[in-house]
């Protein structure tokens, strides 16, 4: 496949198709609607399922049904729509069905606006729905990664019988960038559906997809089973990127779009002689805890940059503990932090560290 200029929303929808997604259920919401529109054209063309649901509540439950029936299935939405999906996501975690959700985040809370934001971090990474559950959360920072992460999300979802989330934002969904789509994978053959799936109990015992365990002891055992699965994912599926960190005294920690804005800021600061690099979690859950802890022993200070008021910051603080000061710079409500203002924060931090490294700088929260 050659590189082509692709809009993020179209790119991940087509990537899903090529990853063998057989059923898409969604509801229009800016800034992800182009994905739904792409699916509306392409899925029927390929003889696959496309349904515009009456709400995000219904869409996620349709995904639940198709996943229970053993096919690769997905939905995409944006923050307010994703809030409506929390019930379904909890049920899917509780019945261990695989599916993919792409959240093209926008400004909030409430109706908010349609501009890019990263304020669904807590909702998607920590849960959002009820119960002790996890979702694999991938944070792409380019249209290419949006494609690659969508494919990966399906593979991980199937491997672990879990919901995989691709946590994008309005800028990634709306922008166009050179990227390469994967080759078309054939959908799973009808007779190759997973042994647990609902397909009609022919020549086997009946299958049940359910999240109910009325007996508390049984529910607790099931939760322990889930936790063991989550531990296996934490052991095998952590992904992160380190950029110019080898000699860095300052590490910026950022994910997704914020991280690419940081890269521009870092390029300028490096040119000015500041030893700064980027630590970018690619999986937000499982979180790159060990690598970040190691980093916190090597650098003099960490600056967290997010398009929210400090949601991942809490995880960074938890991991770093008191090893080094952790500062924060965030823009929110749909405002993107400009590279120039990020650079100013890096520069201020460098100046303060240079002046008195042993003292926590004024602007640095620890």
């Amino acid at each position: 496949m050659a590189r082509e200029l692709l809009k993020g929303n179209v790119a991940f929808a087509e990537a899903a198709i090529r990853a063998g997604c057989e059923a898409y259920f969604g509801y229009p919401i800016t800034p992800q609607t182009e994905a739904l529109e792409h699916m509306a054209v392409r899925m029927p063309e390929l003889g696959r399922t496309f349904v515009q649901a009456e709400s995000e509540v219904a869409a996620i439950n349709m995904v639940y049904g198709a996943a229970a029936a053993g096919v690769r299935t997905m939905t995409s939405s944006s923050s307010p729509g994703v809030s409506l999906m929390m019930e379904g996501l909890s049920y899917m975690a509780g019945s261990e069905v695989p599916a993919v959700v792409v959240d093209v985040m926008r400004g909030g809370p409430g109706l908010g606006n349609i501009a890019p934001a990263q304020s669904d971090y807590t909702q998607m990474v920590k849960g959002g729905g009820h119960g002790d559950y996890r979702q694999i959360v991938l944070a792409p920072a380019s249209v290419q990664e949006l494609i690659d992460h969508t494919v990966l999300a399906f593979d991980l979802a199937d491997r672990y019988r879990i919901v995989s989330v691709v946590l994008a934002d309005g800028s990634l969904g709306q922008m166009m960038e050179g990227a390469e789509l994967p080759a078309m994978r054939p959908p799973r053959a009808a007779d190759a559906s997973p042994a647990w799936a609902l397909s009609g109990a022919k020549e086997r015992d009946t299958n049940l997809i359910s999240s109910i365990h009325l007996d508390p002891d049984e529910e607790e055992r099931f939760n322990h089973h889930l936790q063991a699965k989550y531990a296996a994912i934490e052991a095998a599926e952590i992904r992160h990127e380190e950029h110019l960190l080898d000699d860095a005294s300052i590490a910026v920690v950022a994910f997704g779009t914020a991280a690419r804005l940081v890269k521009t800021a870092i390029a300028g600061e490096r040119a000015a002689g500041v030893a700064v690099g980027l630590f970018r979690p690619i999986t937000l859950w499982p979180f790159p805890t060990d690598a970040l802890r190691d980093l916190s022993e090597r650098v003099e200070a960490i600056l967290v940059v997010e398009m929210n008021m400090g949601q991942m910051l809490e995880d960074v603080q938890r991991v770093v503990a008191e090893r080094c000061p952790v500062g924060f710079f965030g823009r929110t409500g749909g405002v993107m932090p400009m590279p120039e203002e990020i650079a100013a924060r890096i520069r201020a931090l460098a100046t303060q560290l240079g002046a008195a490294v042993s003292d926590a700088p004024e602007e640095v929260r620890t």
Partner: protein
């Protein structure tokens, strides 16, 4: 090399398409590129803008506070972007719709009556191509020939009868920009 540009105007003036064409051409030239639009309610008749970044290295930010160049197609866009163009940068102004002069003297301001030129060329929808041609003549990111070739690739076959007019619009814009630059270089009374 990293070049960034903002194109701004009314919805319907071809702001977004002109930017996409440039991004396509950059990709065809083997460069990295991002195209970032204003989106949402602004698309429906209000102001529209897009940012195009072209680079020979991976692109970090797809947005910019201080672009190297801007094409402004209406007065609100001039008001908004004139102060933001980096010193020494290029500002292409559609004087058919903007009767206010550019105030800054530290940038390369190119006045093009693009709607009138497009009308002369026989198609008012060519305004964006005229302005894009003007920009290309005053920047070194890509040539009008490269953009023209890309247009042939990305324009749907049903619109190919318009290729000639589009090429003419790019060329005419470039020509006018070169003339305007020469005028700028000559101090007037």
């Amino acid at each position: 090399m990293t070049f960034d540009l903002i194109i701004a105007g009314f919805g319907g003036q071809g702001v977004l398409f002109a930017g996409q064409l440039l991004a396509h051409a950059a990709l065809d030239a083997g460069l990295e590129t991002t195209w970032y639009p204003s989106y949402g309610p602004e698309m429906r008749g209000g102001t529209a803008n897009c940012t195009v970044v072209i680079s020979d290295a991976p692109i970090g930010s797809p947005i910019t506070e201080r672009p190297q160049a801007a094409i402004v197609m209406n007065l609100p866009s001039l008001v908004r972007y004139e102060p933001l163009v980096r010193p020494g940068g290029v500002l292409v102004v559609n004087t058919s719709l903007i009767d206010r002069a550019v105030e800054r003297v530290d940038i390369d301001a190119i006045a093009i009556p693009a709607d009138d030129v497009a009308a002369e060329l026989g198609n008012p929808k060519l305004t964006n191509m005229v302005l894009l041609g003007a920009l290309l003549a005053r920047t070194s990111a890509l040539t009008t020939a490269q953009v023209g070739a890309t247009l042939e690739r990305v324009l749907p076959a049903r619109h190919h009868h318009l290729l000639g007019a589009n090429h003419a619009a790019l060329a005419r814009g470039a020509e006018l920009a070169t003339e305007a630059a020469a005028r700028n270089a000559t101090p007037t009374a």
